[in-house]
């Protein structure tokens, strides 16, 4: 099943348990779902339900306790070795001794590509950091650092893009602008994308499918197809259908929380 040409992200009975000083914490329990290659998937769920853990397993940073994961028909470790993954963490993870440009180029160097100044500059411009090419991370605000991290994830034109609340630290306007740019780039590159977010609106606006998770141990409450066509623009945010859809997602989340308590 892993060889299908249109396979995107595929989780097959994935569980993850952490051992913590004798006690064990089950972060994820028997997660299975499949997305199409080139699709945009959003994951929402309460804090601590294992969203980051799922992403880290797809990034080959963590091994599942049980089950298998694939992205674009290949194992995470295969993809990683070929330099086909892109990731943005909750924290920007910039190297403090490198300038903005050098931090972005680092991704190219590590994946064995010669940095092309023009591409990097275009990306810096895109994330709104023109003029800060030679600044060091310490000279940037938290949100600016996060934008550098986004540019760094995009510069290698990855086949699979993993985003862990990348815009959590940004103001609403910048966030929306970057979301639009993200959609534009995603549409142009057909990147299989998975976005973890706390914003229901963001999930509904950006993705093809929203995966709603339960409180820990994380299970899938629902896999919801987003019923809006593309391309999408800011007008969608004002439509009543959009708000009804967002409300549906909220209700699923709330029902999951209530279940977990009682």
């Amino acid at each position: 099943m892993a060889a299908q040409p249109d396979a995107g992200i595929l989780l097959d009975g994935v569980s993850k348990t952490f051992g913590l000083r004798g006690a064990s914490v089950t972060a994820l329990e028997k997660i299975s779902f499949a997305t199409r290659r080139g699709s945009f998937t959003a994951v929402i769920g309460p804090s601590g339900c294992g969203k980051s853990t799922m992403l880290r397993m797809l990034a080959d940073l963590e091994a599942p306790t049980a089950g298998r994961l694939f992205a674009n028909g290949r194992t995470p470790s295969d993809l990683r070795r070929d330099g086909k993954l892109g990731i943005v963490f909750q924290e920007p993870a910039l190297l403090p001794w490198l300038t903005v440009r050098a931090n972005i180029d680092l991704a190219l160097r590590v994946t064995g590509t010669r940095p092309d100044g023009a591409d990097t500059d275009a990306l810096i411009d895109l994330v709104g950091l023109d003029g800060f090419q030679d600044a060091r991370p310490a000279e940037l605000s938290g949100g600016m650092r996060q934008r550098v991290a986004v540019a760094r994830a995009l510069v290698t034109a990855p086949e699979v893009l993993l985003l862990d609340e990348p815009f959590g630290a940004l103001d609403e306007l910048t966030r929306r602008r970057l979301n639009h740019e993200l959609l534009r780039i995603w549409a142009a590159q057909a990147t299989t994308t998975m976005l973890v977010t706390h914003s229901i609106e963001e999930a509904a606006f950006l993705s093809d499918t929203v995966i709603v998770m339960s409180p820990r141990p994380g299970r899938i409450l629902a896999e919801v197809e987003v019923p809006f066509g593309r391309p999408r623009d800011a007008g969608l945010l004002r439509e009543a259908a959009f708000h009804r859809f967002a409300d549906t997602l909220s209700e699923i989340l709330a029902a999951g929380e209530a279940d977990a308590r009682g």
Partner: protein, 544 residues
């Protein structure tokens, strides 16, 4: 920024001011005032006491006999530079080794700690006969730098941001790429902090060798001048020794800042003293088991390393005594009882001298640090001076304090205290400044007064730094006490070394060396335990 930063202990403020060599108008004024006061004191109050030479007299003396001073300064500098390079190379390689092969961490760390705890003053006469004289002095200088650099380099290599390593990993980067692109640059600030402390330590090691009898060097000059009661010459050599130590310290600091402009102040100032081997949390039982294990490994490393050294080096049996020889000397031969008396008789005195000086230095450091934090104008003027004096060598302080205060207990205490005073002061001030801005802001919003902020936020934040300073200062205090006893007062373990050298009884010297090493290691261990208890409460994030 002078007006409004008075009450803001933030990293940003510190970084701005700390960025360069000692500078600023306040500091310049303070220095001029100090030199004038010194000159006046020497010319008027103490003019006939043969205790204090005026700065002008020192300048004159330097101008008159420049060749003599330059030759000896050059000799000490050359020894120290060789020791610095060799010792630090060994330390960096060892750090790379324990970071790559964690199983080696305990034994390698124990060996480095034992080397740090080695009383180089007791080792000096032994090395002098075992090795070529120049080589012995270089070896002493190298030994003096190994531990702090090892700790700093290992800490640095481990300090890479895990998220940055993850990022390179996700991009398909190899272990080598992680090392070159992330780990090594991340290690540089900490490494330079270690190298900076190593510069004066290398000078100390070199001069201890010179005390023991060399042809040239500042140590030789000062011993002669002190014997002849040549006050001006003593002060001149002390000034040169201070310039050498401080110059090395400031130079390495400057190079470090140029190479690592991104580094935070904390890393630059005290990284070398923060680490201290693996610190892990765990239950009471686990902790006890680990303690027993650590003690076992330490003893094994000390005695095993010692026996191995004697065995492999194939040294002359008259000079080179192994553990068995020393055991027989202390417990088996007919004279054992009197031998024990010559070795252990002075131990209580030495412990007393070291402890008194240690406590005085730590207390002074804490009090002045509080003064600095409460009075930012004082801090602004005096901090650069304190940083420069941090590396004032015992070679300079000992004769000066003795000239001024005589061969008294107070003088001994003061000499030992100076060794821990400046490092403690600087570490505390920096640590207090780094108190989380949000916490002090919160307290201010709640209308807390200055003392409450100090007591509730700044001092607890600085507690780990205080403990780290204490841990590092203990072996230094013991070494300082023995050096003073040996050089000046002729009591305690210093006296045992004198008599060992005088009677050519090398078993005494080996016994003294091993007793002092174990004493230093035990004291270091005790403070580490206390430190862990403090960290568990105040900074659990520092425990792994």
């Amino acid at each position: 920024m002078h007006a409004d930063d008075a009450a803001l202990p933030t990293a940003a403020r510190g970084a701005a001011r700390f960025g360069g060599l000692p500078g600023g108008a306040e500091t310049a004024l303070l220095l001029v005032a100090l030199v004038l006061a010194w000159e006046a004191l020497a010319r008027m109050v103490l003019a006939n006491a043969f205790a204090l030479a005026a700065p002008s007299q020192i300048a004159l003396q330097l101008a008159e006999s420049w060749d003599l001073y330059a030759r000896n300064l050059g000799a000490t500098l050359w020894t120290a530079v060789q020791g610095f390079v060799i010792g630090n190379l060994i330390a960096i390689l060892a750090a790379a080794l324990i970071v790559t092969i964690p199983a080696l961490e305990r034994p390698v760390f124990s060996a480095a700690l034992a080397i740090y705890a080695l009383p180089i003053i007791a080792l000096a006469p032994i090395l002098m006969v075992l090795l070529d004289r120049d080589a012995a002095m270089v070896a002493l200088s190298a030994l003096a730098v190994i531990f702090t650099t090892l700790v700093a380099a290992a800490l640095g290599l481990r300090s890479a941001d895990p998220a940055a390593l993850d990022m390179v990993h996700v991009l398909g980067g190899s272990t080598w790429q992680k090392l070159v692109r992330v780990r090594v640059p991340a290690a540089l600030p900490s490494l330079f902090a270690g190298l900076r402390i190593a510069a004066p330590a290398a000078v100390l090691g070199a001069t201890v060798g010179e005390f023991m009898g060399a042809e040239r060097g500042l140590g030789v000059l000062i011993t002669n001048a002190l014997a002849d009661l040549e006050t001006t010459r003593v002060w001149t050599v002390a000034a040169l020794a201070t310039a050498l130590s401080t110059g090395g310290y400031l130079l390495i600091g400057w190079v470090g800042r140029r190479l690592t402009p991104w580094a935070g102040e904390m890393e630059i100032v005290q990284a070398a003293e923060r680490g201290g081997g693996a610190r892990r949390s765990g239950g009471q039982g686990q902790r006890l088991a680990r303690l027993a294990g650590t003690i076992g490994v330490n003893l094994l490393v000390v005695f095993g390393g010692w026996a191995l050294f004697i065995h492999l080096a194939g040294l002359n049996a008259f000079f080179a005594k192994g553990p068995v020889d020393v055991w027989q000397f202390l417990f088996a031969v007919p004279d054992a009882a009197s031998n024990r008396q010559s070795v252990f008789g002075g131990l209580p005195t030495t412990i007393g001298n070291a402890l008194l000086g240690f406590l005085a230095g730590m207390t002074g450091g804490v009090l002045v640090a509080i003064l600095f934090v409460l009075r930012p104008s004082v801090e602004r003027a005096a901090m650069p001076v304190a940083i420069a004096l941090r590396s004032i060598p015992i070679l300079a302080t000992t004769p000066l304090v003795i000239l001024l205060f005589g061969r008294t207990l107070a003088a001994t205490t003061m000499i030992v205290a100076i060794l821990s005073f400046f490092p403690t002061l600087i570490n505390l001030v920096v640590a207090m400044r780094l108190t989380r801005r949000s916490i002090t802001d919160l307290l201010r919003v709640l209308n807390a007064d200055r003392w409450t902020i100090l007591w509730r936020a700044e001092l607890p934040t600085a507690l780990p730094a205080l403990m780290a300073s204490a841990r590092i200062a203990v072996p230094t205090s013991i070494l300082g006490a023995v050096i003073v006893e040996w050089l000046i007062t002729g009591v305690g373990m210093g006296n045992a070394i004198l008599s060992g050298v005088y009677h050519a009884e090398y078993a005494i010297l080996w016994s003294v060396a091993v007793v002092l090493t174990l004493l230093s290691m035990a004291a270091y261990g005790l403070i580490s335990l206390a430190e862990r208890a403090v960290l568990r409460r105040f900074a659990p994030e520092h425990l792994q």
